[in-house]
């Protein structure tokens, strides 16, 4: 892994972080995160014949109160990164330092207590709520698990309060998930995540399953909650315009690695990595005149298999600006000024 990253990462100022905590107050530091899933052969005597390198060396840090957008195409390891940070998958290697403690080294009861501080919002609002439970017991469950609230009545009050926080009617406690629309269910999911008062929320494509008209409501709700409660988000998505709206900084992933990370506007205006450039060129512009003149960079070929990533730069097989060096050496993920990180040989001294 690149040695420069963790040191520089800590010096990145956050635009939004200042509102909720001191500048430089790092909530989460991910260093060298790797998540490999074994490929096994055989039925009785299983042996490992390879590994899917879903996440292969990811470094970044998050300031308190900040929103980091994580974008990339399907299967690039965005969701796996989110889940590995929350220890829903135990990472193969790397450190996840959250509020000063390395989660990868924690187990059992310690880790369970830490789960109060970090929560997750899921993509599919239909699958993420238990269909046999009432809304009240769904939102109340984390309270029971962590023994929050002394009496049942106290918990009920807290549940109603949470429903109000996500702009739902507190009378809905006795209803079942199937009685709600997708947007309402997503609000229930958010209320459940908020129940334990977390400081950090991984939002795993929280709006991609929703109607476009509902997406804005959920995004606005998440922003309001961030202002009220000082939440920190890792916002995983593939809708670039939504990510631009909500994020302070944005990281672009390709095949298990972050290829570029920068302040939101910096990234959209001056993308460095050819992959980011291609990705951004695909965003439609809501102006027919400009839209017809838009130059799209169309990538050739498919994403290589994460079980067997290409040598050198992972993007070298599809990159329109590929050089010989890219196929040999892996580019270093480093700061090219003002907290604009990229992993690309194009910007190295001596290269055209």
């Amino acid at each position: 892994m690149s040695e420069a990253t963790p040191v520089v990462a800590q010096t990145i100022p956050s635009t939004n972080g200042a509102q909720h905590g001191a500048i430089g107050d790092i909530l989460l530091n991910v260093h060298g995160l790797q998540m490999y899933f074994p490929i096994t052969k055989g039925i009785v005597f299983q042996r490992q014949v390879g590994a899917i390198k879903a996440v292969d060396g990811v470094d970044f840090s998050l300031m308190r109160g900040e929103t980091l957008g994580l974008v990339g195409e399907s299967g690039c390891g965005k969701s796996t990164t989110g889940r590995a940070i929350l220890q829903l998958y135990r990472p193969t290697a790397g450190e996840v330092v959250f509020e000063g403690q390395d989660l990868t080294k924690m187990k059992g009861e310690d880790l369970r207590k830490m789960r109060r501080r970090m929560q997750m919002i899921f993509q599919d609002p239909y699958a993420s709520l238990n269909p046999r439970m009432t809304v009240g017991s769904i939102i109340g469950e984390p309270l029971e698990v962590h023994n929050i609230g002394a009496t049942k009545k106290e918990r009920q009050e807290r549940v109603q309060e949470l429903l109000k926080t996500v702009n739902l009617n507190p009378y809905f406690v006795n209803r079942y998930p199937h009685e709600f629309s997708g947007g309402q269910r997503q609000r229930i999911g958010i209320a459940r995540a908020l129940a334990v008062n977390p400081s950090f929320i991984v939002a795993d494509e929280p709006i991609s399953a929703l109607d476009v008209s509902i997406q804005a409501q959920i995004i606005n709700l998440m922003e309001d909650l961030q202002d009220e409660l000082g939440l920190t988000y890792l916002f995983i998505a593939h809708d670039l315009s939504v990510v631009r709206h909500i994020s302070d900084r944005i990281a672009v992933m390709y095949l298990g690695k972050i290829v570029e990370l920068a302040q939101r506007d910096e990234l959209y205006e001056k993308p460095m990595h050819p992959y980011t450039q291609a990705l951004l060129s695909a965003v439609p512009i809501p102006d027919p005149v400009i839209e017809t003149q838009r130059q799209r960079i169309i990538l050739e070929g498919d994403v290589p298999s994460p079980a067997n990533p290409p040598k050198g730069c992972r993007f070298s097989t599809r990159c329109p600006r590929v050089m010989d060096r890219c196929r040999q050496d892996e580019p270093v993920f480093k700061d090219y000024g003002g907290g604009h990180f990229a992993a690309c040989w194009l910007y190295e001294e001596g290269n055209p």
């Binding site: 009785v44 889940r83 929350l86 829903l88 880790l111 369970r112 207590k113 789960r115 109060r116 929560q119 997750m120 899921f122 993509q123 599919d124 699958a127 993420s128 709520l129 238990n130 269909p131 046999r132 009432t134 469950e141 984390p142 698990v145 962590h146 009617n169 009378y171 406690v173 006795n174 209803r175 079942y176 009685e179 999911g189 459940r192 334990v196």
Partner: protein
């Protein structure tokens, strides 16, 4: 203008209905109630069960009392006893009152069915949920055992095991109050009651596989769902996930399986008793009553009908209840 004025109250009425929502089980109950055949079947089962419970009230005769005064053995319905009472369904080849015996036989047959089904579903659900949820080698072992048990033909193995256990007078080590309670209920000796329990054990050991496979499948699909992931993210224990979430979500096919299982067990018990390795005389069961009726079937054709009709009624009714439950629990059918 006037039209809009009259429609407004309707809207207000709808908002008033907040907070009181039907639970899912009440919806299921309502849908079941609409399944006519299943409801009739349920009523039939309840009536038969109530009749067997009321056996001493309905019939003045004691279970094993042999009426020597009756010369026609087996005697037709309406035969008078020495004391002048009517044997409503006649007497068997030994001169015992058939109504009394069929009622007590029902107690035995239905009790066996309920005990066996409860235990086989309990064993099946817990092993199935465990193996489906955790996977890995425990799942491998449990699944292989299930496949082994399913691959051997049931009746021969039941015959062999029960003939070994019943003929050697094996006793199940259960607390005395259980055997004594059962003995009082069956109006038999504690030893005979224990034999019934041995039979139950055999049926449970060979019968839990269906529930285990169903529950394993449910657990496998459920454990990959986002709501289980959310439980892990909130720090819920595996026990909580299994008992509060996996099992309640997978219970619907188990209930259907159980009600069909009741019918199957009644038949199995009767088959074993009929073949002489199930419930042993003098404890009556519908199966061994059929067996003893067999020899007199041509002189006394009503004899096999006495245990046969309730047997058919109960099994068919349990099957219809199962069908009704299946329809009522099907989430794809709304309302």
């Amino acid at each position: 203008m006037t039209a809009s004025a009259t429609t407004t109250p309707l809207v207000i009425k709808k908002i008033e209905r907040e907070g009181k929502e039907e639970s899912q089980w009440r919806i299921v109950g309502r849908r079941f109630a609409r399944h006519r055949l299943a409801m009739i079947s349920l009523v039939i089962i309840i009536i038969i069960f109530a009749l067997t419970l009321l056996a001493p009230v309905i019939s003045p005769f004691s279970r094993d009392a042999v009426d020597i005064a009756v010369t026609a053995r087996p005697g037709p319905p309406g035969t008078l006893s020495s004391a002048g009472e009517v044997h409503l369904l006649g007497v068997d080849h030994l001169g015992r009152d058939l109504l009394t015996r069929v009622l007590y036989g029902g107690r035995v047959s239905l009790t066996i069915a309920f005990i066996v089904v409860i235990f086989q579903e309990l064993v099946g659900v817990s092993l199935g949920a465990y193996s489906g949820f955790y996977g890995g080698w425990p799942d491998g072992i449990i699944s292989r055992i299930v496949e082994f048990l399913l691959s051997i033909p049931t009746l021969p193995i039941l015959l062999i095991t029960s003939s070994i256990l019943i003929k050697t007078d094996a006793q199940l080590p259960v607390p005395a109050f259980v055997t004594n309670g059962l003995a009082r209920f069956f109006d038999s000796t504690p030893q005979d009651a224990n034999k019934v329990l041995v039979l139950c054990l055999i049926l449970v050991v060979l019968g839990w596989t269906g529930a285990a496979r169903l529950m394993r499948g449910m657990a496998l699909t459920l454990r990959g769902q986002d709501f289980v992931e959310s439980l892990r993210a909130m720090g819920a224990s595996n026990g909580r996930i299994i008992f509060r979430h996996i099992i309640p979500n997978g219970i619907a096919p188990i209930l259907v399986n159980a009600s069909l299982g009741l019918a199957a067990i009644v038949i199995f018990e009767s088959a074993l008793s009929y073949l002489g390795v199930g419930v042993q005389e003098p404890t009556p069961s519908w199966g061994n009553m059929l067996a003893s009726a067999q020899s007199y079937m041509f002189q006394a054709p009503w004899l096999p009908l006495v245990p046969g009709i309730p047997l058919v009624l109960v099994t068919v009714a349990f099957n219809f209840v199962g069908d009704g439950l299946r329809d009522a629990l099907d989430p794809r059918l709304k309302r």
